[in-house]
């Protein structure tokens, strides 16, 4: 049940999604990954990908144009 963070601030599509996919593969079931994003299209495709994989996803708007996507690995 560890928590990991991934800093994707300043990175444009599709880098945040590619890095999230890679990082999620390293996690064990039940772990949580917090991805920091400031690119609005990554804020769409990262949660979309994670939900399609069946993970639990929550999005928090931290500041103007800055989000934290919290992904809990379910399988």
């Amino acid at each position: 049940m560890a928590e990991f963070t991934l800093d994707c601030l300043g990175e444009a599509c599709p880098v945040p999604l590619m890095r999230t996919e890679k990082k999620m593969a390293e996690l064990s079931v039940g772990d949580v990954l917090v991805v920091s994003i400031d690119h609005s299209c990554a804020m769409k495709n990262v949660p979309e990908w994670a939900r399609k994989q069946g993970h639990n996803v929550e999005i928090e708007e931290i500041d103007d144009g800055e989000w934290e996507v919290v992904i809990e690995k379910t399988k």
Binding site: L9, G10, E11, P14, V15, M18, R19, K22, D38, H39, S40, K44, D63, D64, G65, E66
Partner: protein, 182 residues
């Protein structure tokens, strides 16, 4: 005052119209309507990058350069656009509108942010990518708008050929991205 803004930003119409992206269908319908309007106003299809070449020529003139003898600018039409200046060039005004509109959209959605540059690699990649895109757009006589969107909607075969090579370029680009940016 803060409560007022919180109330506005949680309003469903604000969210639907200004905060959340339009659906693909809404976007496609709007693009079709505006493309028709563009054709009606300018009597030619929508393109973006040709005006950028003129911007480059004007900037080059500012520092004392002369493009009159360049093959690209030698046609009468190109010369007329260049001598007419920025304010008389519909394409330039339209591009300015695209930039301003994109800026306003981020402001309305309250998503404006000055982003930090993460590494020197990003600077090199952005400069190199921009130059290649500009160069390619001039060789292909258009970008994904002029050579793809407008061509295909005018039933031109060239648009589909552009599309094939666009895929090839995107494939190579994403391989390079994975190799140097991951």
């Amino acid at each position: 005052m803060n409560a007022f803004w919180l109330k506005i930003t949680s309003n469903r119409f604000y969210k639907r119209l200004l905060k959340e992206p339009f659906t693909y269908v809404t976007g496609a319908v709007l693009l079709a309507v505006f493309a028709i309007a563009h054709l009606a106003v300018f009597s030619k299809g929508w393109g973006v990058t040709s005006a950028f070449a003129d911007w480059g020529a004007w900037m080059y003139k500012l520092v004392g350069g002369n493009v009159d003898n360049w093959a690209y600018f030698s046609s009468e039409k190109a010369q007329k656009t260049l001598s007419g200046g920025f304010m008389n060039d519909g394409g330039s005004i339209r591009n300015l509108g695209i930039i301003l509109g994109a800026f306003l959209a981020t402001l309305f959605a309250s998503e404006f942010k000055l982003k930090k540059i993460k590494s020197k690699k990003q600077i090199v990649a952005a400069a190199l990518g921009g130059l290649l895109m500009g160069y390619g757009a001039r060789l292909a006589n258009g970008c994904n708008i002029g050579a793809l969107f407008t061509s295909i909607s005018s039933l031109s075969l060239s648009g589909w050929i552009f599309w094939l090579f666009l895929f090839g370029g995107a494939f190579i680009g994403s391989k390079l991205l994975a190799k140097y940016f991951m």
